[in-house]
């Protein structure tokens, strides 16, 4: 608190009117210009903050608060807040009541002569003030730490475009089975799409036959069979070819009786074989 500030404080006293009377009786330490008074009072972070302010201002030991004094000063501030119609939070009034209660208890003769369990009436308040003060200090320390945006800046440069990759999602076989089950259950409901059972090896073989014929013209029928697969393999291939012919995918050609049979994927005359 500087001399200048005190002079300023005296000056405001002449400007402020409370209840139509010049307000001269206010806390001694209000060294702030009048238009800042409201701001000043609003900056208190609640009653504990205000109390700590009062204690620090008088350089008092927090552990040994002169409760009567502090109560009086606290009430002055609360009154002032009321006069300025600040949105006075209930916490301030609760604290005022608490201070008055402590004050009254301290006026009573203490039965604590014999060091019994009777606690100092201020103890709980002091504990709260001390606890709060730790976090006030911690908040200040936090604010003083270097931090991004203020003390350091994050670097962020671009990379030339066109290099981003997309990773496809993972699929579990169970997902696939659940999907096929769902789709056939639905299909079963509409009789038009009754799904007959077919061996998957037949279907797989149909794909393989088509793969072999892809991009080729007529292929000798016999080339599609692999004798090393044995009889079942030959049968599956044969069934696959019949199925493909039935569904208009393949066509069979025999130029003359008993000549070699040729097979090819059907295609429009003017269209090259599927690539």
């Amino acid at each position: 608190m500087t001399a200048d500030a005190e002079a300023a404080s005296a000056e405001i006293a002449q400007h402020a009117l409370v209840h139509g009377q010049p307000f001269v009786d206010w806390p001694q330490d209000l060294f702030i210009p009048p238009d800042a008074l409201e701001v000043f009072l609003e900056t208190f972070e609640g009653p504990l903050d205000l109390l700590l302010y009062l204690i620090r201002r008088q350089n008092l030991d927090i552990l040994d608060i002169p409760i009567a004094d502090i109560t009086r000063q606290y009430m002055d501030y609360v009154e002032l807040m009321k006069e300025l119609r600040l949105d006075l939070a209930a916490e301030y009034l609760v604290m005022a009541a608490l201070l008055c209660e402590i004050k009254s208890r301290m006026l009573l003769p203490r039965a604590a002569e014999s060091e019994d369990e009777d606690e100092d009436p201020r103890a709980e308040l002091v504990r709260r003030l001390l606890e709060y003060e730790r976090f006030q200090q911690a908040a200040i320390a936090l604010d003083e730490r270097p931090r991004l945006e203020r003390d350091w800046l994050q670097t962020h440069i671009e990379i030339p475009s066109g290099y981003l990759r997309r990773i496809p999602p993972q699929v579990e076989l169970t997902d696939l089975l659940a999907a096929v089950r769902a789709v056939f259950e639905r299909a079963d409901l509409s009789s038009a799409h009754r799904v007959e059972q077919e061996s998957l090896s037949l279907r797989e073989r149909m794909g393989l036959v088509l793969e072999r014929l892809q991009g080729r013209g007529f292929t000798p029928f016999s080339e599609l069979f692999d004798a090393s697969e044995g009889r079942p393999g030959v049968v599956v291939t044969f069934l696959a070819i019949l199925e493909l012919i039935k569904t208009s995918v393949l066509e069979l050609v025999q130029t003359e009786p008993f000549a070699a049979i040729h097979v090819r994927a059907r295609q429009a005359a003017d269209e090259p074989a599927a690539a």
Binding site: Y163, R166, S201, Q214, R266
Partner: protein, 204 residues
Amino acid sequence: MEAPALKQVVEGALLAAGGPVNIERLLSLYDEEEQPSRAAVLETLQVLEQEYAERGIEVMQVASGYRIQVRASVAPRVARLWDEKPARYSRALLETLALVAYRQPITRGEIEDIRGVAVSTQIIKTLLERDWVRVVGHRDVPGRPALYTTTKAFLDYFGLKSLNELPPLADLREPADLLREHPTLAGQPPDSAPPAPDNQEMSP
């Protein structure tokens, strides 16, 4: 604290700006009386570019000023930081894939008939790009629709030796049950080990 060198300021500014910065803007970092010359800033930019020769970054002049960017030789690798891991495939895609697997060779129209709903081109495209499905021919009907089958890559991905290892349609029940009956489907060699712990959990 000593005033930082012009080179440090220019480098810091270009690295932090997140976009190109022109000479005027670099000069504006200084009050008028302490401002370096344009020539000094330009020279600093050249010095930086030389110093970056062996680094992963480079100074580049573009229309709106100068920027530091990841060097092209490093970019493909650095770009992996943003590899997109998209969510999951849609049910429509999985059903389409499942139908190709079980009913191949199959046309898009046939898939649509069974699913009772149109199959989007995007789904077909995704399946083709993923190399799970391919075109093996065309059905000789009006429109000559493409015939799709699954690929070897599809079998490999799902750990199948052949389509035969997929459970027959008639058996399709809860997939979890299937896996219990076909341990190979769960990717475990059938007789290598006693039932895996989660198999036990599933059996009553």
